[in-house]
Amino acid sequence: MLQTAQRADVVVEGVTRILGGRRVLDDLSLTVPEHGRVGIVGRSGAGKSTLLSLVAGLDTPDAGTISVGLADCALMPQRDCLLPWRTALDNACLALENRGVPRGDARRTALPLFTRLGLAGAEELRPAKLSGGMRQRVAFARTLLADKRVLLLDEPFGALDAITRTELQDWLAGALRDEPRTVLLVTHDVEEALLLCDRVLVLADGRIKADFEVDVPRIRTDLGFVELRERALEAIA
């Protein structure tokens, strides 16, 4: 397979995490190849966010190893987490400024990305003036500009209405085609995972319960796609 030929970028090996006496993750292993996109789906409480926190290096596992950490991963949280006191462009520049890049240089670096991500014209607006979809785009720009190998997306569109959500899923699929990164996406939306990822894992009770290769056209109405979505939904239920 193509995947085995690629270098594994994220390796999670036998990871267990116990929170409040419960095994939230139980001897879990997975790999994400370089520039591969793996989606984790599951019900709420399945351990999805715990897994992302561990991979991001914000939390440590009780057992097992993870090949990446804080230095390698940028996390896009469920809420956009934009700073209300910064303009859209300055929010996107956060990682650059944190690394010591002067503000003017950071803004010049971020500007072309704003155009590519469909944010032209919104640069000087504060988050309160942006729509939910725009805010999520700025959050994605901010995550990309952290310039890390691995993007961790935690329910990136969970807070959006259905129409904006569909629109942004297509937009993100395009953006990831233009800016290939290693992606670990966590969502409860099976369709979202199938649209954005090449592999979708079903997480239940802290273990991988099913593993789907997305080898069908990524079109919501395609028969193969619909059938794969049904199989994945059955695995969750």
């Binding site: 926190s53 991001a56 804080l70 700073l83």
Partner: protein, 241 residues
């Protein structure tokens, strides 16, 4: 507009009651007598106001600077916070009125003891609100910053401090209303100028209208400081308005 109307009505009632009951000016002056004193004694009140304004302004700035320094130190050291914060609360039980004479003995009769009294009175509301505001930072924002190369200092500068500004300003606004009273206490403990001194001198002379006139000026000063702080907040915290 409504508070102004209510105030005008109250002043009107006050004037009417004093006139109808034939109360002597030295017992309880009518608003018109206070207004006359404001005009007649404008030279005396003017120079006294300059002295008191200086005490209020410098003492208040001293309070803001110290409160922010201490709040930041407490924020970065939880051990220090656990040790010092209860003591700061305890210190508030000591009446400032009693501290003022001691400060006059220790620091003399110049401007210094007045600044310290104003600063002590204003310090507490700012420091407490600042500490609370800094601690109230959204943990999710901090997690996000950590994955974006955010050092401890970057998290403070870019997330915690700006996020605490509205809280710091609400403390600063409360403190602004205390500053004028602090200056008067300071002057009462030993001074030869200022609005507090004017009040102290007018009392044995039964110049009651002048006392009221000085109080009116003091209220106006407190209000002006409050307005200035609110204006500064509008400029520095535009996302919160």
């Amino acid at each position: 507009m409504r508070p102004a109307l209510l105030l005008a009505a109250l002043v009107g009632v006050w004037e009417a009651v004093v006139r109808l009951a034939h109360v002597q000016d030295y017992v309880f002056p009518a608003p018109s007598a206070v207004a006359r004193s404001l005009y007649d004694d404008s030279g005396l009140l003017g120079s006294a106001t300059l002295v008191t304004v200086r005490e209020i302004a410098l003492g208040y700035l001293l309070a803001v600077a110290f409160a922010l320094l201490i709040a930041i130190a407490l924020h970065f050291s939880p051990a220090l916070r656990r040790a010092l914060l209860p003591l700061l609360v305890l210190s508030q039980t000591v009446p400032t009125v009693l501290l003022a004479p001691i400060l006059a003995i220790v620091l003399g009769y110049g401007i210094e003891p007045k600044l310290v009294v104003v600063a002590i009175v204003c310090f507490f509301p700012i420091v407490v609100n600042a500490v609370d505001g800094l601690r109230a930072a959204d943990p999710e924002l901090i997690r996000m910053m950590r994955t974006l190369h955010g050092s401890r200092l970057a998290i403070f500068r870019r997330v915690e401090f700006p996020g605490a500004l509205p809280s710091i300003f609400s403390g600063a606004r409360v403190a602004a209303t205390y500053a004028a009273v602090g200056a008067v206490f300071g002057e009462w403990a030993g001074s030869s100028a200022g609005l507090g001194f004017v009040i102290l001198q007018a009392q044995p002379a039964l110049e009651t209208a002048r006392i009221f006139a000085a109080v009116v000026v003091l209220s106006a000063l407190a209000l002006a400081l409050y307005g200035l702080v609110t204006l500064t907040e509008r400029i520095l915290v535009p996302w919160h308005a």
